[in-house]
């Protein structure tokens, strides 16, 4: 889990500063502006990490509620977008852990059940933005990404889907630039290995 209160080295822009001050004063219009500005980033990060449109929509709302409730804790030393990305990643990871726990208990129910029709369902994810001709390959790639270790998965998703720079990813994940470079390098190598194994089988 990423610590939400640790400072970032990147300073906050002037427009962000005004928006944050207005949010701290509880101005509704500022909150509306924030939602308009960040809903695309938040939703797309969520959907790439949790791989379910309904859940992503729900987590997006949770992220904005968290922002609304804890804006007074936000420190001006970090970028607003960095902070929001951090909350988004944390909320998505929380959701995935919850799902894993549910799946585990579901599996236990399944193995103890005598009903032969009750089967475990592992859904395949089709990202709504993927081009039609790439949909099958995108599905295979999403499945391979899901099998990456957590940190590699987050770094790869933020880089590939959100187009964040290495520096921005380092700020969001609160890691050094070199460790992000290393994470992404390992993520790409692992993905290649998994894809080779997939096509070889």
């Amino acid at each position: 889990m990423i610590n939400l209160t640790v400072k970032s080295n990147v300073g906050m822009g002037n427009s962000d500063h005004i928006l944050v001050e207005e949010l701290k004063q509880g101005e509704e219009e500022a909150f509306r502006q924030l939602v308009d500005e960040y809903q695309d980033k938040v939703y797309n990060t969520c959907i790439s990490l949790v791989r379910n449109a309904e859940d992503a929509d729900d987590i997006t709302q949770e992220v904005f509620i968290e922002v609304y409730n804890s804006i007074h804790k936000f420190r001006a030393e970090s970028k607003l977008s960095t902070w929001i990305y951090r909350i988004t990643v944390n909320k998505s990871l929380e959701h995935l852990r919850k799902m894993k726990r549910k799946k585990r208990s579901g599996f236990l129910q399944w193995i103890s059940s005598e009903d032969p029709d009750l089967k475990l369902q592992i859904p395949d994810f089709n990202h709504p933005g993927v081009l039609a001709e790439n949909s099958e390959k995108a599905r295979i790639l999403f499945n391979a990404i899901e099998k990456l270790p957590e940190k590699q998965r987050i770094a790869f998703t933020l880089h590939k889907m959100e187009d964040l720079s290495y520096e921005q990813i380092a700020d969001v994940m609160q890691k050094s630039l070199s460790s992000i470079e290393s994470l992404l390098h390992r993520a790409k190598n692992n993905l290649k290995k998994k894809l080779y194994a997939y096509y070889n089988s």
Binding site: D40, D57, Q61, G129, A138
Partner: protein, 116 residues
């Protein structure tokens, strides 16, 4: 063999590029309105959550049931065996006990000893 390897390599490279040209996904419409409703709902829950929470209701029910059981038990004891119930002495009895005690007190004993 080399041909197969090359084919797989191509597939892997193409798969890694599957996200290229991808459009952004859109959340369901009226996100802000749904968000507002959820915030209002949460605020209401915080206010009502204290005394109307299921945990509080369960605790209150258990306490009421304990009081009812205790009352029934006490009443049953009283009606089944009324003689055994403790009786509160009347004010007259208290007066008699104070001024004409059935057992000698220190005051009575000293009076007895001073008489020649």
């Amino acid at each position: 063999m080399k041909k197969i390897d090359k084919h797989i390599e191509e597939q892997v490279e193409k798969t890694l590029q599957a996200f290229d040209g991808m459009e952004r996904a859109q959340p369901k419409p009226f996100l802000y309105t749904r968000l507002q409703a959820r915030l209002e709902n949460k605020a209401g829950k915080v206010i009502r959550g204290g005394i109307l929470s299921p945990a509080f209701q369960r605790l209150a029910l258990i306490m009421v049931m304990m009081i009812v059981v205790f009352n029934i038990y006490t009443a049953a004891r009283f009606f089944i065996n009324p003689g055994s119930a403790e009786t509160i002495p009347s004010s007259e009895q208290l007066f008699v006990e104070e001024y004409y005690p059935s057992t000698p007190t220190l005051y009575n004993i000293s009076q007895v000893n001073t008489n020649p």
